[in-house]
Symmetry: C2
Subunit: 164 residues, 2 copies
C-alpha cells in the first residue's frame, strides 16, 4: 500500500480571516493544487480514500483531488489538524486492508505535521529532514505489516513547480 | 549549496558486453535521461560541476546533462564507481566553495551507492529508505558547514516517469 501526503495549496492571508481554520485557497493555490492533481491522475494513481484535515484550505485541496477523479471518497480526519499525532492514524491503517499489494491512500494536511508523520513512517522518528512546499507531495511505499512505523520507503518528494 | 544525485539511465543488457563498465545507455535510457535533463533546465538549475562515475552508462548520462546546458564541466570521479565511499567525496566538498548560498553540484552514478550517499548526508547513516529509479533524481539542500554528513535536507526525489 502506498501512502501519499499532500500539503494544502497557498491560502488567503491570515490577517483577512478571524480564524485560521477558515482561510480558503487563493486562485494560485487552487491552480497549483490542480496541476499536481492532474499529474497524479496522469500517473495512473487512484486513492482508495482521501483523508483530510478539517481546516478549509485542506478540505478545498482534497475536494480538488476528488473532482479530478483521484478518489471517490473524501473524509475529514481530525488528527490531520495542525499538531495531530500519527498514533491516531494507526487504527485507520489497521482498518484499511493494509495487506493489499496494490492501492493507495492520500492524507491532506499541514506542515510540519505531514513530514513529521512521513518521517515516523520511514525512520521511526522525526528528524526535520524533509522539505514539503505548499501543494507538494510525498509518496511512501509501506510493506503489508500491522505496525508501519519505521517501515516505509520514500519514492516521491516534490513541489508543484516541478510539474510546470 | 544543493547536491543533486542522478542515477544513470537504462543500459544495455549485461549479457551483451564482456565488461559491465562498458554497457552503454539504450535509446530508451537516453530518452528518459534527456527528459529529466530538460526538466532540470526548465527549473533554472545549473550545476557548477558534474561529477560522474567512470562507467560508460554514467558518463553518457553526464554527457546528456552537459549537452543540454546544465553545466560546463563534467569530471570523472572514481569514488562514484559502484561500491565507492562518500568519505572520498568529502575533500571535494571542502574544495568547493561550500559556504555559497547559491550553487549546485551533480553526482552521476549507480545504485545503491547514490541513495547510500544521500542518506549519509541527510541522516548520517544508511537506512535503505530511499527508492531511486534509473534516470531518477534526488535533490538535497546542504547548509554551509565543513562536515556535511547528517546535515542535508531532502527537497526532491523523483523518477523520470513523473516528467512524462
Amino acid at each position: 500500500m502506498d501512502i501519499y501526503f499532500i500539503r494544502h495549496g497557498i491560502a488567503a492571508d491570515p490577517s483577512e480571516y478571524e480564524y485560521d481554520r477558515d482561510r480558503p485557497l487563493t486562485p494560485k493555490g487552487r491552480e497549483k493544487t490542480a496541476r499536481i492533481a492532474q499529474k497524479i491522475r496522469q500517473m495512473g494513481v487512484k486513492f482508495d480514500r482521501i483523508l483530510t484535515s478539517p481546516l478549509v484550505r485542506a478540505k478545498q485541496t482534497a475536494q480538488i483531488l476528488l473532482e479530478i477523479g483521484l478518489s471517490n471518497v473524501v473524509e475529514e480526519f481530525i488528527p490531520l489538524s495542525p499538531g495531530g499525532n500519527i498514533k491516531d492514524f494507526l487504527p485507520i491503517w489497521t482498518e484499511l486492508d493494509y495487506t493489499k499489494t496494490e492501492g493507495a491512500i492520500a492524507l491532506v494536511g499541514h506542515q510540519p505535521d505531514l513530514t513529521d508523520w512521513a518521517e515516523q513512517l520511514i525512520w521511526g522518528e522525526i528528524g526535520e529532514k524533509l522539505i514539503l512546499k505548499k501543494a507538494g507531495i510525498i509518496g511512501l511505499s509501506v510493506p503489508p505489516v500491522a505496525s508501519p512505523l519505521g517501515q516505509g520507503q520514500l519514492f516521491l518528494l516534490t513541489s508543484p513547480k516541478w510539474f510546470n
